[in-house]
Symmetry: C2
């Protein structure tokens, strides 16, 4: 099978997937989306809307959707993967036989797989057998709601193959969406994955009534531990200081809409993890991946005190207030130590 | 003259100076403040309040104030300097003969002197003749209002002499105020000075109605140009990623109280610099120092596009909207270029 028609498949119809489909269509691509639920894909195809995940936004006419993954993937030159991180392996397993042999596989997901500690691009490589030249990731300060309103936004497209990064950056460039290219896939993915955990910690501090000084300290120290992990895993630490690391973290921690931050806020106000899940009807990505990230750090010999504190709250049931106090009172004499 | 009594002099009774005096007194120091205005110093000494600059806060009993600088400085083991940056040289010139020969001189100021392009610690060295082992700077994510409410806050105390940094960090440590030490005075000062300029740019974008994605991008790219300047001037770039660089910038850009951000916001809404000054009755530090920082960058051969854009708006009268568009549309293919 080859990428005959050259359309772009977007696998996932959530908030970010639908927004990115809009960007791709605005940039001139023929976009076909796959979604699990018939009512969602029908609404996208017939009414050019996804009311549940992207209310108030009209999608470009060039976007259609289907529940039939094989049909969506048939002939796709580019396949954008944007499903919940922990479901990627299972979903992708069912799609592999439908992928064109030369298709570019683009991950929009942020997380580290439970059990294996693999980043999303590593799961893609393992399941599909694709080489690094066929796998790209997109990450940055990309609150979907603002992009859907076509507000100016920068992002990072990373691929080990520079030419393919440039080509895909071109495919998603619009007047409001500006991709920078990168070859440091590891740094870009780690920035996005650890961000969710730091946003949980920031939310916890906010929930305890702490202000911008404390929040800025947690963001700063959180990014420092992300950089330590990135360095230990062979990434470029300057990537962590860039749009896909610092930029994404700052945007997330500024947004009242962040699921991770909101989840942390509820924990900081004294709720248990179970109580937050019961109220919000969902689990934040950082809740799932903090343990994987911590185990990854431990196997690399890296100290990540904020991630460890979050994992202790989330998995060991220690009250958030106690863990925030531990983070803030940690004895550290010299800043770089 | 020597530092007999060992008290701490705080030279300045503004918002930050008064707050830091409170921290020092809470940490156990005997604090004497100098201020220009009789009504302010009288209120501090007799009522333990500074209603104009720190409303609603009661100062510890150990804080007194006077308009007589020589009296305040007499015997002070530590002298904290916290006057407007561009007035430091003139103020300090009048104080030098009253300084104990071994007193530690601590700058709480952020800025670069107009004309000379000197950082505040360099002005202190030039005017007093003190060596680097006697000059320290304090900077970090330190919104004064939160510290005055005794909310948990981290900061950085930097001095070329490690032991003196540690000693002064001890002198200002409280349960809510936690200093880390640093020896990179240049990096700490540049982080604080450029922050004011980046906060102006962030404010401009906000004033134009742009959201968190754009704001996070400007913060990220702004910190990247700060790091380039710091590296060119011999500082450690990791300092810029720390509490006195990134931390301070993130806290400032989150705070509705930041003068620089508010000034930029008004510019972004279409006001001229003169109109903003007329309305707010004050000029933000970044407005004054952006040209010095830009000239410093040019002499070091460093590209600082955001600082340049801010300087163009502030000094050449180009509308903020036009400059923000220039920043956002700047052609950059690879993130690290």
């Amino acid at each position: 099978m080859s990428a005959r028609s050259g359309h772009t498949a977007v696998m996932g119809t959530g908030n970010w997937g639908t927004t990115f489909a809009m960007v791709l269509a605005d940039a001139g691509s023929d976009v076909r989306m796959w979604g699990r639920r018939a009512e969602v894909v029908d609404e996208i195809t017939t009414r050019h809307r996804n009311t549940e995940y992207l209310p108030g936004v009209e999608l470009p006419a060039g976007v259609s959707a289907s529940t039939d993954a094989a049909e969506v993937l048939d002939g796709a030159a580019t396949v954008v993967l944007v499903v919940p991180s922990q479901t990627l392996r299972e979903n992708l397993g069912g799609w592999t036989s439908s992928l064109a042999a030369d298709a570019l596989l683009v991950s929009l997901m942020k997380g580290v797989e439970l059990g294996t500690h693999l980043r999303m691009s590593e799961v893609v490589a393992e399941v599909t057998g694709a080489g690094p030249e066929r796998i790209a990731v997109v990450s940055g300060p990309n609150l979907a709601t603002e992009i859907a309103a076509r507000q100016p936004t920068a992002t990072v497209v990373a691929c080990a193959d520079h030419d393919r990064a440039v080509a895909f950056a071109h495919d998603c460039s619009t007047s409001y969406f500006r991709p920078y290219t990168q070859d440091d896939v590891v740094g870009v993915e780690l920035g996005g994955a650890v961000k969710n955990v730091i946003a949980l910690a920031v939310g916890m501090a906010e929930g305890m009534g702490m202000g911008d000084n404390t929040r800025a300290s947690i963001i700063t120290r959180g990014l420092a531990e992300t950089a330590r992990l990135a360095a230990a895993l062979g990434a470029d630490v300057t990537t962590v200081s860039g749009l896909a690391g610092m930029g994404d973290l700052v945007a997330t921690c500024a947004s009242p809409l962040s699921r991770n931050r909101t989840f942390g806020h509820n924990l900081g106000q004294g709720m248990t993890v179970e109580e937050v899940v019961a109220v919000t009807k969902q689990t934040a990505e950082g809740v799932k991946s903090c343990r994987s990230i911590l185990e990854l750090a431990q196997s690399a010999g890296v100290d990540m005190p904020i991630t460890q504190a979050v994992a202790t709250v989330v998995h060991d049931g220690v009250p958030a207030a106690e863990m925030v106090r531990v983070i803030l009172s940690r004895a550290r004499k010299h800043e770089q130590s």
